[in-house]
C-alpha cells in the first residue's frame, strides 16, 4: 500500500508514491537521491538527519514522509544558491567546523535557522541551538566558531 505525496524540497515540488511508514529521511535519501541528509541513530538523538520543515529544524528520522505532504523541506543541498555558498557553509570551511562531515549538513541547517531568527547569537545560544545534535569529531569548538564567523559575515553585510 502506498500513498501519493507532494513535497516541496529546496523549492522544487516532488510528487511520489510512498509507503505510509516511510521516514522522511529515507524518502529524501532513497527516493529523491538527496543523500546529503544522513542517518545515525534509532532514537532521535544524534541529529545528523536534521532538515528544515517549513523553515524549522526537525529530525527527519522522526517525521513520516506523509507528514511532509504539502509542506516545504529544506536540506543541505539547498543551502548554496545560484552558485553562491551560504555564509554558514563558508564559516564551516573557514573555521574547520567539520572533520568527517557526517554531522555537518544537520549542523549547518540548524545554524542557518538560528541566524535567521537571531542574527547575533551569543556562544551560549549557539551551543543551545545545536545541543540536540551530536558531533563525534570536532568537540563542537569549531562548529561554534563557524557559526560565529557566519554571523559576523551577515551582520557586516
Amino acid at each position: 500500500m502506498t500513498t501519493r505525496i507532494t513535497v516541496t524540497v529546496n523549492g522544487e515540488e516532488h510528487t511520489a508514491e510512498v509507503e505510509p511508514r516511510t521516514l522522511l529521511v529515507h524518502f529524501l535519501r532513497d527516493q529523491l537521491g538527496l543523500t546529503g541528509t544522513h542517518w545515525g541513530c534509532d532514537t532521535s538523538n544524534c541529529g545528523v538527519c536534521t532538515v528544515t520543515l517549513d523553515g524549522t529544524p526537525v529530525k527527519s528520522c522522526t517525521v513520516l514522509a506523509v507528514m511532509a505532504h504539502n509542506h516545504s523541506v529544506g536540506t543541505v543541498e539547498g543551502l548554496e544558491r545560484d552558485g553562491k555558498l551560504d555564509p554558514v557553509q563558508q564559516g564551516f570551511v573557514e573555521c574547520h567546523g567539520l572533520q568527517c562531515g557526517f554531522c555537518t549538513p544537520g549542523m549547518m541547517l540548524t545554524a542557518r535557522w538560528l541566524l535567521d531568527n537571531n542574527p547575533d547569537p551569543s556562544e551560549t545560544e549557539i551551543r543551545e541551538a545545536i545541543s540536540g545534535q551530536s558531533c563525534r569529531c570536532t568537540g563542537y569548538e569549531n562548529i561554534v566558531r563557524s557559526v560565529q564567523w557566519a554571523a559576523r559575515q551577515e551582520v557586516t553585510r
Partner: protein, 798 residues
Amino acid sequence: MTTVDKPSMGFGRMHRKEDARFIRGRGTYVDDVRLPGMLHGAVLRSPFAHARIVSIDTRAAEAHPKVKAVITGKTLEGLKLAWMPTLSYDTQAVLATDKVRFQGQEVAFVVAEDKYSARDALELIDVEYEPLPAVVDARRALDPDAPVIRDDKENQNGNHIFDWTAGDKAATDAAFARAEVVVKQDVLYPRVHPAPLETCGALADFDKVTGKLTMWCNTQAPHAHRTVYALVAGLPEHKIRVISPDIGGGFGNKVPIYPGYVCAIVGSIVTGKPVKWMEDRSENLMSTGFARDYHMSGEVAATRDGKITAVRVKVIADHGAFNGTAQPTKYPAGFFHVFTGSYDLEAAHCEVTGVYTNKAPGGVAYACSFRITEAAYLIERLVDVLAFDLGMDPAQLRMKNLLRAEQFPYSSPTGWEYDSGDYPRALQLALDMVGYDEIRREQAAVRERWAAGDRSGTLPGVGISFFTEAVGAGPRKHMDILGLGMADGAELRVHPTGKAVLRISVQSQGQGHETTYAQIVAHELGIPPDDIEVVHGDTDQTPFGLGTYGSRSTPVSGAATAVVARKVRERARLVASAMLEVSADDLEWDGAGRWVVRGSTEQGRTIQEIALAAHSSLELPDGVEGHLDATTVYNPPNLTFPFGAYVCVVDVDPGTGQVKVRRFVAVDDCGVRINPTIVEGQVHGGLADGIGMALMQLIAFDEDGNCLGASFMDYLLPTSVECPSWELGETVTPSPHHPIGAKGVGESATVGSPAAVVNAVVDALKPYGVRHADMPLTPAQVWRVIQGSPLRTDLAIT
C-alpha cells in the same frame, strides 16, 4: 581563535580540500552508494547473552514476497564460512550455529528488495533458544564453576584467553620491598564504544562472469580487509576490490571485519545482485568493536618525599565472547605496557589476563592507541592517589617525577624507547595557562568555608594528566596484524604539466588526508597543494598498507609520503642536470620547488619544468628512465612518542552529583605540525571524548548479560553544552627519526583527557575524603561516592 592563513606551499594552516563536497552534502558515504538492482540485507540478532540454539525456522521469512534469500549458520557451514578468523588469531561466528554467546550476536541474514521488507522478514524468523547462565562479570570469568563460553574450541576448558607480562618482575618486587611508601588502587576502565555517527556498513557486488568482488565498505583498513576476505572466502585477492569511500567517523570502530560484511558478500554471491547492509545504531553499540573493559589493580612504590620508584599492575581484560581485538600480534594487551607513563622509574611490571565473557567481542577501538588509553588513565590516577596519600600537590609530584629533556632517547623499564620530549616544559605551560596557583587559592577559600559549615554552592576541583603516547605502529619486524607487517606504501606521480597524484594506503575518517598529504608533498617538492590529488581508500588504486588507526597515518604513511616525494626530487635532479647540462652534483634544492646550480641560483629549473622535460624527448643520463614518479614502502624504525599536559577544572554539586566542566587546558606536543588547524581540531574532538568517557559514556550489563547501553538514549554522548570552550597550547619537539619530525596526534586527547577530568572530580570531592572513583562519574555515581558507596559501574549494580 582559529585563523586560516592563505594556502601555503607546505606546512601551515590551509582550508581542507575535502570540505568543498561535505558542505554541499556531496560526500559519498557507503550508504550513499546505490547500484542497479541492489538488494538490502538485515541481520537477525540474539536476544540472549548465552543460549543454545535449538532450532531456526526460516520458512515464513522465505515466503515473504520481497525476500530474495535467508542465510543462516547452516547455509554458511555448507560454504565453510560459518566461522571467520578475528584479528587476534581467534575465531568468531559469522552466523551462530551452536550457541549464541552475546546479546546482539548475528543469527540469520535476510536479503530483500528494500530495507523495510528485510526488517519485516526478520520478524518472521522463528528461533528457539535454550538460555544458559551468562558470564557477565569479568572478575568471575575464571571461577571454576563459570560456564564455558567457547566450547566450540578444542581444549578450551575455561574462559581464559591469555596471560601476558612485561617488565622485570624481580626488580619490581625488590623496589617494592625497599619502598618507604606503597599505594594501591583498583581502577576500572569500563567498557565504552566509539560510536561514530555513521554506523558500519557495506555494499557487496559479486560479478559471477568476471569473478570479481567489489566491496564498498566504510573500513579504516581497506587493504587488510581485502587480504582477510581472500583468506576467509577463498576468493583470489586480485579479484577483490575494496572501496572505502567517505567515512563518517571511525575511531577504531571500523577496523575489524564484521559478520554483516561477510553476510553481504554471501548474499551477493547467492542472489547474483549487489547487497547492501547497514547496521542500525543499536546493532552498532551492541555488537561492534567496543573499547577498554580493563579491570586494573595498580600499585606505586615511592619515597616519603614523593619520588616514584616502581609500578606494579595486574589486569583482567574483558575481551567478550570472541577475542576480536585488533593489535599487533606480539602484544595481546596492545601497548598497555607503556603504563610507566611519563615518569622516571627504576622498575615496573604488569600481568594481563584476557578472559572471555558473554559480551560483544572487541577491545581495541576508540582512539586508544592500542590500550595506551587504559595505561595513561591508570598511571595518572595512581599518581593522584599517591599525592592524596602523601598530602602533596599533584602538579609538584608530577614535576618531581617527570622525565627530563636530557634523558631522551629514553629506555623505559618495560622496553620502549621514547624518541624525544621535554615534559616539564609542557606541564609548566599548561599550569601557567590555567592559572594553577590562582585556582588552588580559590579552591582553598571554598574548602575553608565548607569546613566552617557553609556548604552551599559547588566544589571546585582541578585535575592534571600528563601522558606519553606511543604511535605509528610499527617497525614491521616487531609489529604485524594477522601476519601482515605494519608498513605502508606510497606512490607519487608528477604529470607532464607538473600536477601530481599521490596514492596512499591509509584511509581518512575525517582526518583530512587529502589536504595534509598534499601539504607534505608540497613541502618536499614545491608543488602547490591544490595541484596535488591524493587518492586513497580504493585497493585497486592504491599501494598496500595497513590503514588508519592507532594514530599511525602521519607517523607511517605521512613518512612514506615524504620519502616518496624525496625520491621524486632526486629523480628530478638528474633530469634537471640534463636540462642544464651540468653535473647533478652541482645542483642544489632551493627548498621552494627548484633545482638550482650551486652558486648561481638564477640558473635553475622548477619542478614543473623538470616534469615536462622528464616526459619530453630530452636526452636523459644513462639509467634515468624518464617520467617523474616513484614508489616506496615505509617501515618505521621506531614508534613516535607524542605527549601532553592537560588540566581540567570542574565544579561539582555535592547535592545532585552534577559535574560541570568549567575549563580544559590542553598542551600537546605532537612534533612538527603539518596543518595546525587540523591538529587542533583533532585535539578538540578527543577532549570531548574524554569528557564523554569520564562523565557519561558507558556500556554496562545487567546480571543476565543484557546490554544497557544499546541506544543513544542510554549511551550518552557529550553535546555542545557539556563541553567547555577548549583552551589549547603547544610545544614542538620533533621526532628525530620521522622524515619530517611529525609524531601523530589523532588519539592524544582521547588518551590524555579522561584522567584529567576524573582527577578533577576526585579533587573536588576531597572534603569528603574521596581518594578514587570509577568512571563514568554520572550524577548518580558522584552522589553515591559522596555517600561512601560507589557503584560498580560496569555491572550497573551497587
